[in-house]
Symmetry: D2
Subunit: 273 residues, 4 copies
């Protein structure tokens, strides 16, 4: 067994109010060093300060863009990072949590929209996964029989194309396919790969800002929106699963959600249910 400090890498922090940041906080609290990747340096630094202030170890790794090369480069920086806390570090968990906002009617989707969705969600995700898998292969098995866990945050659009989501869904479907390929290929090497279907709205600064007058009521009611900390708990659980019972995919939605991903819950005529 290794004696190094476990390391979590999170790619996709946004403004630090969503899933990526919540996962970083949860794992930092659990003793992980956390390396944060995002495009916005200010948001990154704020989250690093917050986690450090709470007694955790975190470091910021800004990325200019989610290209194949830049993603590989930032990964290498993380691996060679000298953590102030000293001692050795071992990558044990990596989360690909990157999203691009490319919604809209198909005829409004531009060349740049679809290229961006594919490059950021999928191509950069391939670069990230390659580095992560190669690092995991160097690890010994941990006490649960794993060399490491690679996590992907998916969405309703990972399993459904829909009106307004053509470009987004193409990217999310593509990266989900990768997650399944990796789970099948590297499970045999005791590398755990998992994918979550977030089938509802996550409470973030952005999603809140869209609600207008309804924002406070929506925020206050966990039956209606996903809490990022709750998603983070599912990641903690997935990492703790022992090798005899690994999950590749699970769905997550608020108690009162309308089940966009698997057929609407209400409103369908009796004749079409």
């Amino acid at each position: 067994m290794s004696t190094g400090r476990p390391l979590l890498i999170v790619a996709g922090i946004g403004n630090a109010s969503g899933t990526g940041a919540a996962t970083a906080r949860a794992f930092a609290k659990g003793g992980y060093r956390v390396a944060l990747i995002a495009r916005n340096t200010e948001h990154l630094n704020r989250l690093v300060e917050e986690i450090s202030g709470a007694g955790g170890e975190a470091a910021a790794f800004p990325i200019p863009e989610y290209s194949y090369t830049a993603t590989g480069d930032v990964f290498d920086k993380i691996i060679s990072h000298a953590w102030p806390g000293g001692g050795s570090t071992e990558l044990r968990v990596a989360l690909w949590n990157v999203d691009v906002n490319v919604f809209g009617s198909f005829l409004n989707v531009t060349e740049k929209d679809i290229q961006s969705s594919l490059e950021v969600h999928v191509t950069a995700g391939f670069a990230f996964s390659r580095k992560v898998i190669l690092a995991f292969k160097e690890n010994e098995l941990d006490s649960a029989g794993s060399r490491g866990t690679l996590l992907f945050t998916g969405a309703t659009a990972s399993i459904r194309g829909n009106v307004f989501t053509s470009a987004f869904a193409a990217g999310k479907h593509g990266i989900r396919a990768l997650s399944q390929s990796l789970a099948k290929e590297f499970g045999k090497e005791n590398i755990h790969v998992a994918h979550t279907i977030i089938d509802g709205s996550i409470l973030t600064d952005l999603s809140l800002s869209r609600r207008g007058d309804a924002a406070e009521a929506w925020k206050a009611n966990p039956d209606l929106r996903l809490g990022a900390e709750s998603i983070a708990k599912s990641y903690l659980y997935l990492v703790q699963q022992d090798r005899s019972a690994w999950t590749w995919e699970l769905d997550l939605r608020p108690a009162h959600e309308k089940w966009w991903s698997r057929g609407i819950a209400t409103g369908a005529p009796l004749s079409a249910v």
Copy 2:
């Protein structure tokens, strides 16, 4: 190659305004003898007369109930039927098109509802399939390389459980599973098994009667409802597929349908698409 007249058996004729009857008409027109199974003798006889009047060969086989035994019995009667037209007959196509109306809120589902859904959709479907498979195994390959085609009419509820459909969906899921098991086991013996997902409302006397004032407009607009003859055409197509490219499952819905089976098309908030 056989020189017998090809026979189609349809189980589930309703009042002769839906899929079963349309399929019988289409295959009769295509030169098949058609054996019709249903609970209502009057409806059966009316359809037999109609098909005979149009120059086809049809015979009615009333069934007291869709139990395992009664289904096997009626099948045996069909096989030993002496067709007035004479000559030999060979079962080549069979359609399991039986449905039970057991919709409603879960807490209103009775013991009888769920038992009825399972017995009619699934148990009787096993009895029917067994007889059909055994008969097909005696056939020579036809010119398309098939010993026979066993068809199942499915619904949105074949792939989605939903509010109001717990009992119905349990039965429809169960018989879909059978269709897949059979396709895998008997494809290797050149028996073709296919299942359709009807993902919308079919225009029938019953569905029309539920529409009230909107009935005529709905009936007149094929963008909004499935025509039973159009479903029958899909069965003709499936039967004609040659052995190098067989379909197990296809979905069917009107052009303007809302896609109940695979996530609603409109109305979902941007944040949950």
Copy 3:
């Protein structure tokens, strides 16, 4: 908030070496009273003694058969049971873990096989679910925002019909459909319904006995078979999820598993991948 002791009901204990028993042990350790339903009284009593000996509270409820009526009756007995430990009891978690061994080539499936698979997996599951939902509706929300969690143990055959599984898959598909219907209908009342896909072999006395000379090596290698305790941990996790992020379905398989449920991992020719 209630002050009663939480109760777990498990239906389907087998010989106490599998998922049902492991779940009972895990929840008993977590402070739940556990009510055990199975057909074999001896196995039930042995498990009750074991749990009691370890400081837990358990009670045995033999059932003569998994019919609709018998399932409802045994449930009522559990609810009116006077626990020696005294105080009030509140049903908070229920697990439907019943399986019928009805494997084999389709033409060997008897009327009794399919009826048994449907009655035990589905009809009795409807009776169980009805009682559970009605009991949960009386509960207050717990600290995670739930009135209770209803769990179903599924299998590869819950989502794939296959050669040798026609009768088994029909039942498992049917009960999975119920779990989805219930999740959609009762999520809105803060009742959590979840379904697991066990996509591999669980280490039990029975599965071990089938391995012959390979049994010890297989037992010793958690990369190859699911541990029942690991499945139980997934149930603990599902129960602990808060209402903002509930899972309906997750899959579980050993690290080196071949992914029966979602297309085989190896062996497919390049031309068909």
Copy 4:
């Protein structure tokens, strides 16, 4: 109703021994003008000659690469093409049949491999679809109630990521997502979008060359491999469906196929079926 000659565009002809060429031949025989897009001018010209020689109308449109821009450009050339036969032409059917050979173990997948899979399968598919949809919107409804049919050739990898297919599956999943988004958004405008899952090996020069000594036996046995003409027939059928019953997706496999896409048919241990 229009009086123009109907036009089929096929993108992806390969060496004219597969699905694209067979579809072109079938529709040419059915009275369509066919515009063929591929990278290899020689293969294109040979197919044009063959179709012309058989009395059809075909024209070759070489494309330097399947980029967004080049795909749009070649489409514009097709639309402005002066057909020797004269008269007006109306785009009625378009087939996206492009594939990139990027198979292999994940760690051997290069940046170029994944970028190529995404650009060719998905980005160019977005460019193609955009032009097609815009052209279809100008059409009147035909006698079946359609303004046009947009077809996509999918594969097992469209719905399963797998060992050796990470890059291929990412592209095929992405374009399948597009096909579903388009079907949902433009069904309402009477534009039919359909996607096929080819779940087995198609008999082509390439697939044949890989079989070595087994090639002739495999070629001779339609139970084992898909015939491209049979796939073409499914496209003819999809185009003929009337608007009351449109299929989005169907699967196609040889009679004796092992069902890669939906769980293997044989070989699974009883305990994991």
